[in-house]
């Protein structure tokens, strides 16, 4: 069995009196599609924000690929190979769809105040990035919109753009907060098929928050269930959905 790429130990984060994340320890296995589910307000987004450095944990530790990353700022977490999407899409509004993708390509040699002048040094990189970006846009059925400003997209298209950005980032671990919310079922299945292809062919690990279990579960290797800040159950998708604790958490809402 493969080791885990992401580990958290006893993570705690409170907002005022609310313990949004309460002693959460998870192990996301390498090259798996792992899901995090749970009722509204159970702390899923907060956990993602802790892992990606957007929030600092009050307590506990985070490890990625063997290194401790507790307290790392978001851009450093990204550089180690973690890309994420936001539950509410936050595109670069005035940038085109294509540019939104290009921006997230790491290691761009043209991003300095002097380096940007040496066109010869970044042009090739840019052409390759554009090609990669168009492949991703095609996959997400967004290629006809490549020249649109991101703010003009529909809600569903913005979600897809978020997914596209993480694919562009070429990360080892993709963390997505409800990637298919608002996306039609046919396309949603296509996206999940892409996810499994990424996992099987390139060995990318996916850690997803999703409410639409009818679509998502069949692609899933492992599930964590959160309720009121804590992990209440974990296991394979088939066992977890019949776990009485899980049913109670959802029904007890």
């Amino acid at each position: 069995m493969l080791g885990s790429i992401l580990r958290t130990r006893e993570l705690v984060k409170s907002f005022g009196g609310v313990r949004a994340v309460d002693r959460v320890s998870i192990d996301v296995r390498q090259k798996s599609l792992t899901m995090l589910i749970g009722p509204n307000g159970s702390g899923k987004t907060t956990l993602i924000n802790l892992v990606t450095g957007v929030y600092r944990p009050d307590h506990g530790k985070i490890f990625f690929d063997g290194t401790e990353i507790t307290g790392y700022p978001p851009h450093e977490v990204f550089r180690l190979g973690v890309a994420r999407t936001f539950q509410i899409p936050q595109p670069f509004r005035k940038l085109t769809v294509l540019e939104n993708l290009l921006v997230t390509q790491p290691g761009n040699p043209g991003e300095g105040f002097i380096k940007s002048l040496r066109r010869g040094r970044w042009k090739k990189f840019e052409q390759e990035s554009v090609e990669k970006a168009f492949r991703i846009l095609r996959l997400l059925n967004l290629d006809h919109l490549w020249d649109q400003e991101a703010e003009k997209l529909s809600g569903g298209q913005m979600k897809l753009l978020e997914v596209g950005k993480t694919l562009m980032a070429g990360a080892k671990l993709l963390i997505m907060d409800e990637p298919i919310a608002g996306v039609n079922p046919a396309l949603a299945h296509e996206i999940f098929e892409t996810f499994t292809r990424l996992r099987d062919e390139i060995g990318i690990t996916l850690f997803l928050v999703e409410h639409r279990l009818d679509i998502a579960l069949r692609y899933t290797d492992y599930v964590y269930v959160m309720a009121t800040g804590s992990i209440i159950a974990e296991g394979g998708p088939a066992e977890v959905v019949y776990d009485p604790k899980v049913i109670e958490a959802y029904l007890g809402e």
Partner: protein, 354 residues
Amino acid sequence: MTIPEVFFIDLLTIVGLFVIISMSLNLEFGYAGVPNFGKLLAVAGGAFFVGAVPGRIMMFILSPGSGLDFVQNNIEAVMLLNQVFASDALASIIYLVFSLVGAAVAGGVLGYVASYPAIRLRGDYLAITLLAMAEILRVIADNWPEFIGGSMGVRIPDPFRWVGGETRALAVAVTILAVVAIVFVYLELVLRSPLGRALRAMRDEELSAEVYGKDVARLRTKTLMVGCAIAAVGGALYSFLTASVSARDFNRVTHTFWPWVMVIVGGAGNNVGALVGAGIFVTLRKFITFYKSYFEPFVPFDVVWLEYLLLGLALIVVLLYRPEGLVPERPTKTLRRKELLEIAERVRSEASSK
């Protein structure tokens, strides 16, 4: 030279100076989203550098035995140096270039200082802090006679003396326009590069930019350093135009507020906008000042206020009817559209042949 010629050269000179300053603000605010309400800091900083440093160094090099202090014996010292510069074009040019480069470095340092609040504060808090920093520099210069002569200011040696006579104004104008051209080309290249795209991304959604690997604090710092260096060169050029430096010549209305108006009216996020904004405003202002006395019988208040009223009105009209400015931001591509379409086509045909 005829009066229209003098008027026109003077106009070009002032437009050029404000284009430099508003382009620097456009880099900071229009591209990177850093609301630099302390534009005065760098502009004055560049001018104060020119008032304080190059003259002293020149005295040390050219007449070390004279016993004259550049600031305390300012008139004599400047006369002495001007005698040298009047007949030595090379020395003049070296002095000019050294002063401009030095001003840029001083501006970069001030930009670094300004970045301390700019990576920690946002919105109004940042604006007020930067505004205050600029005021502090101005007040220090005004009250510290040894620095640049306090409220009296200092005269500075004139690097255009060897040109002489009427053509001096033309030489100053050409120099300023040359700097405008260099800054414009540089900023256009930046805008059409991956860096320009990253800056605009940071402006649009800071947290996303951070999460997608951009070191936002570093980018903001560098942007302010470059922006302030450019603005400082503008301040330095203004000093050479008047051959003097005085803390009283710099204020937040002219050097912070006007550039903001120019960028907003012209259109933030593109350099042509900054150019158009500065051009229109300086021209309007000059005409209003020029024809002020004609309005005297018609307005029931001091005509001095007319300028502010009309320009304020113009700002409101633009904001109401063209909130994106006269020249709105357009996507600036790193590669040509044709090339992008070719790549798109290649990807499409590859996929369908599979």
